[in-house]
Subunit: 294 residues, 2 copies
């Protein structure tokens, strides 16, 4: 017998319809995980054709509110940013919970989520690694985008491997027309997921608003409209450059060149020992509400 | 105020869940077409990320049951095959109609649809044009697929422009691993949408069951899992070769190499004057059922 389960398709990192990044979420909390196979979940994710499709299950570990499984059209992922925010939004609407702190169990471990009074949802990021890249590789990437970075580009390992560039301002970011063939070749040669380019918002005097773009042509995503892991990489990179001494709130916008208007409300929470926690969040809207037949 | 409208995501050309080709269908028959803009509909189609997203409106011409608007993530289309079958299925479920004959108003004109007792839905195809292609171009395509066609390949203009090849049998069809870069270059050089390759099902002695595959790498669809217009092109090509004297039913399967199992039940309806009508149909299943917020 097929299962008919609650379903939502959620727009993430936006308060405005169709301006964010979609994720399809199925509520499997009413069944046992053993009642569905990984092959079934993968077939659904291939069929929706979204960058990610997720499934909420009853948690199997103490202290967690739900267990999340995340699939791309090709494979299962231990974690992903915008699907986590969108799935948490769906969990809140499915269950009616009013909790301010929610814990997601997933392949990466336990992810802490915070929900503000006005329903902004943020997750606390896991470990990030910063590495150098060679000048030759950096220059080759710059040539594919016609940019000159104002700080040394670095490789950020946050799950995906993003090469991060900072340019003069958001005007420079928005005018990039990248050579995707050349960029894709560089990504494949160097085992990089893709490229993040950011710049301070033109006219911003407070140093806390940036425009970024995420390019990943080698995995068939020439431009990701609103990218959670790319945003995290960019935050970590900014902290590497600026060495913030105090907790810093940052507002990242994304997607303008592909018809979106993603808004990410982020925090670099610097601790007294010099380490920092990173928070990425935003609004989400369930646009499709109904059921799905498995 | 946003509209909250009935919505279905329908799997087309399959009786088995997740084995067909999906289309997202919004029922706008309860509002006036002037209440939504083309930009809004396009933004929804970009967001769903499916090959096609459709919108049912009240018909504006006599004798029609509904008006259909069809969008890809990039633009609006006058007609498309699998979205027509999927949207008709959604129309039947939204309205509860028991009619055996349904007429769809769309950019191409009035499309006649038939519904069988067991809910197979078929459309009568519009005009198709057969043209020659040069031996050089044909050979270049064959090299990209490692095949040798057993009949002269032809160009079929059915809206999209498909180059159609017939090979020995379905085993030959299923073993193709195409060179998509080379094929894409040929498609672009010759203004072709892509390539259809078909072969009689291995072991089929009745001459009425074929396996086909549809490749369109230049429009970012390396392999279309279940393609209505490609199937129509193949039917027209078979009639060009075989010059059927009697009406002929054909069963076309598609999608095996990309995890699907599309089944198309087709008819070449030869008339006494030598002309023929072409019918393409199959089952469809509404997998997602609910509402969408516009």
């Amino acid at each position: 017998m097929p299962h008919v389960l609650p379903f939502k398709q959620v727009d993430v990192f936006t308060a405005e319809l169709y301006k964010g990044n979609p994720v399809a979420v199925t509520n499997c909390m009413g069944i046992d995980e053993s009642e569905v196979t990984t092959e079934q979940l993968q077939a659904i994710a291939t069929w929706t054709n979204l960058s990610e499709t997720t499934f909420l299950f009853k948690p199997t570990e103490p202290g967690c509110d739900y267990k999340l499984r995340i699939f791309t059209p090709k494979n299962e992922l231990p974690f992903a940013g915008h699907p986590t925010v969108g799935s948490c939004k769906a969990f809140i609407e499915f269950t009616g919970t009013k909790k301010e702190k929610i814990v997601q169990q997933c392949g990466l471990g336990h992810i802490e989520l915070s929900v503000t009074d006005d329903q902004k949802i943020s997750f606390k990021a896991g470990k990030t690694i910063v590495e150098d890249i060679s000048d030759d590789v950096a220059k080759a990437y710059e040539a594919t985008m016609g940019i000159k970075s104002i700080e040394r580009p670095r490789l950020l390992k946050v799950g995906p491997n993003w090469v991060v560039f900072l340019v003069k301002d958001s005007d420079e970011v928005l005018k990039i027309d990248a050579d995707f063939a050349a960029m894709s070749a560089l990504d494949l040669d160097n085992d990089h997921t893709g490229v993040i380019v950011g710049g301070l918002k033109t006219g911003c005097t407070t140093g806390d608003a940036y425009e970024i773009r995420a390019f990943a042509p080698s995995i068939k995503v020439p431009e990701d409209p609103v990218c959670g892991s790319g945003t995290l990489s960019f935050l970590r990179y900014l902290n590497e450059i600026n060495q913030y001494k105090e907790p810093k709130n940052l507002h990242i916008t994304q997607g303008a060149r592909v018809g979106r208007n993603g808004n990410l409300y982020c925090k670099i929470d610097t601790k007294s020992d010099g380490n920092a926690d990173y928070y990425v969040g935003g609004y989400a809207i369930a646009i499709v509400n109904g059921t799905i037949t498995l």
